[in-house]
């Protein structure tokens, strides 16, 4: 769900790159927030809450609220609304608090 035609804005995306979400390969633009690439691919559930395991997505999209914490390349608690996408990233849903390895 990318915007292709806009009356005012002109989007200049970066290079198209591949990354994985839960082991599945998808594409996004290099440098855009991981959350934007996931959303464009129709993925809205980013993690599950620690106690009640409720699905969570992003909320503020500017790194304030901590609703979008995911595991990226094995590192938990990454705010994917501001973390930039790079080729080959491994992105996984976070369960609860995430574990530091």
């Amino acid at each position: 769900m990318r915007i292709t035609d806009h009356p005012i804005l002109d989007f200049k995306p970066g290079r198209l790159v591949r990354f994985t979400f839960e082991g599945r390969e998808i594409e996004g633009y290099e440098g855009e927030p991981i959350a934007a690439a996931l959303h464009a691919a129709g993925i809205r559930v980013l993690r599950r809450s620690p106690r009640l395991h409720r699905p969570r997505g992003f909320f503020c999209a500017i790194g304030n609220c901590s609703s979008c914490l995911m595991v990226v390349d094995g590192v938990p608690n990454v705010r994917v609304c501001v973390e930039r996408l790079r080729e080959g990233m491994r992105v996984e849903r976070q369960e609860g608090h995430g574990e530091l390895k």
């Binding site: 915007i3 804005l9 989007f11 934007a36 992003f58 999209a61 500017i62 790194g63 609703s67 501001v82």
Partner: protein, 362 residues
């Protein structure tokens, strides 16, 4: 440890203006911004701004951001630090910074906090479902990253933000099911309301959202009517087909750093919540700390820019810089008063009055 005279935290309209004003006085300035770009909230604002001509009314927010950002980049002597988050302020005038791969310290004689505001949540059933997004998030996703937030959006709040973002959604090719507003009347300017109405979007005043529907993510919303006492009326529930519920229900100043630094904070509903006490120079109860923009009270970009100038000039003056500083301060104060004159500034004037009555803060 590196040291500067003035550290500005946040590169929105307030922080950029503060930086330019202070550097213009000859002070050494560091501008610290957690994002990778300058402009703050302005980078996602595609509409023509309201406000007066001096504050660039009629210009789109994105253009104002570009202009201010360029002026900062061209001004010599500014230590610009992007992708850097300020984590704390300590008593020896030291700021702790999180850079992409390390922690750093910066000593600053004066700090200006221009950290902006964050979006407010609303209480309703399943308000944590993916698809319940803040209005700023929806704007960021579509206007900065070019991704549609969804197929069909239910907007909550008919203030200026709710109205403007609804219009921007339509421009991006997203349907807007309706705009729901708890108050009995529309809060935003009627020009904005007329635009979305003309496009066929109903504005339902005296209504609110009861719950989000959907197991994994939003698939619909249930709205209901409110009576004169703002109590929901059972039996008036209606289901609205949508995959996004967008909250445009207000902002709260981001004051954590000032709480932590020990500035005296006051709760002022008209200013959006907890704000640091401050005087006409935007100086807080902590004599080395100034505040500007939405962090000092949620208002508008036009006021944020003037406040930034005042804070930057006053902080520079407190360190002995003087390039017609009094004259420039006087001019900025008159501009700010003019912005807040008239009926639209009534709420802010009331808020500032009650903040001042909270004592001198020292």
């Amino acid at each position: 440890m590196k040291s500067v005279e003035i550290a500005v935290v946040g590169a929105g309209p307030a922080g950029l203006s503060a930086t330019l004003a202070a550097a213009g006085q000859g002070a050494s300035v560091a501008l610290i911004e957690r994002d990778e770009h300058l402009g703050g909230q302005l980078v996602k604002q595609t509409h023509k701004f309201f406000g007066s001509a001096r504050q660039e009314a009629g210009t789109r927010g994105v253009v104002i951001a570009r202009r201010l950002g360029q002026a900062v980049r061209e001004q010599a002597g500014i230590d610009l630090r992007l992708a850097t988050t300020v984590l704390g302020y300590y008593s020896d005038k030291v700021l702790y910074l999180e850079e992409p791969d390390r922690l750093a310290k910066l000593q600053a004689e004066r700090a200006i906090f221009a950290t902006g505001a964050s979006e407010r949540m609303l209480i309703f059933g399943n308000n944590d479902r993916p698809g319940v997004y803040g209005a700023g998030a929806v704007q960021t996703l579509m206007n900065v990253h070019g991704v549609m937030p969804g197929r069909r959006v239910l907007m909550i709040g008919a203030g200026n933000i709710g109205l403007i973002v609804s219009y921007q959604l339509l421009q991006a090719g997203v349907q807007v099911a309706a705009i729901v507003e708890a108050a009995p009347r529309i809060g935003g300017y009627l020009v904005h309301a007329a635009k979305v109405r003309r496009a066929g979007v109903p504005i339902l005043t005296g209504h609110t959202v009861k719950e989000a529907v959907g197991e994994e993510a939003v698939e619909a919303a249930v709205i209901w009517r409110l009576d004169e006492q703002w109590r929901p009326v059972p039996g008036t529930e209606e289901r609205v087909d949508c995959d996004v519920i967008c909250l445009a229900t207000g902002l709260s100043p981001l004051g954590e750093l000032m709480w932590q630094a020990g500035c005296r904070m006051a709760y002022v509903p008209e200013l959006g919540g907890h704000v640091p006490w401050h005087d006409d120079d935007l100086r807080t109860s902590h004599e080395d700390i100034y505040v500007a923009g939405d962090a000092s009270g949620v208002e508008e970009a036009s006021a944020a820019m003037v406040e930034g100038r005042i804070a930057g000039l006053a902080a520079a003056r407190s360190l002995g810089h003087d390039r017609d500083v009094e004259e420039k301060l006087g001019e900025a104060r008159r501009e700010l008063a003019a912005l807040r004159a008239g009926p639209t500034g009534e709420k802010i004037r009331r808020g500032l009055e009650s903040l001042r009555q909270g004592g001198d803060g020292r």
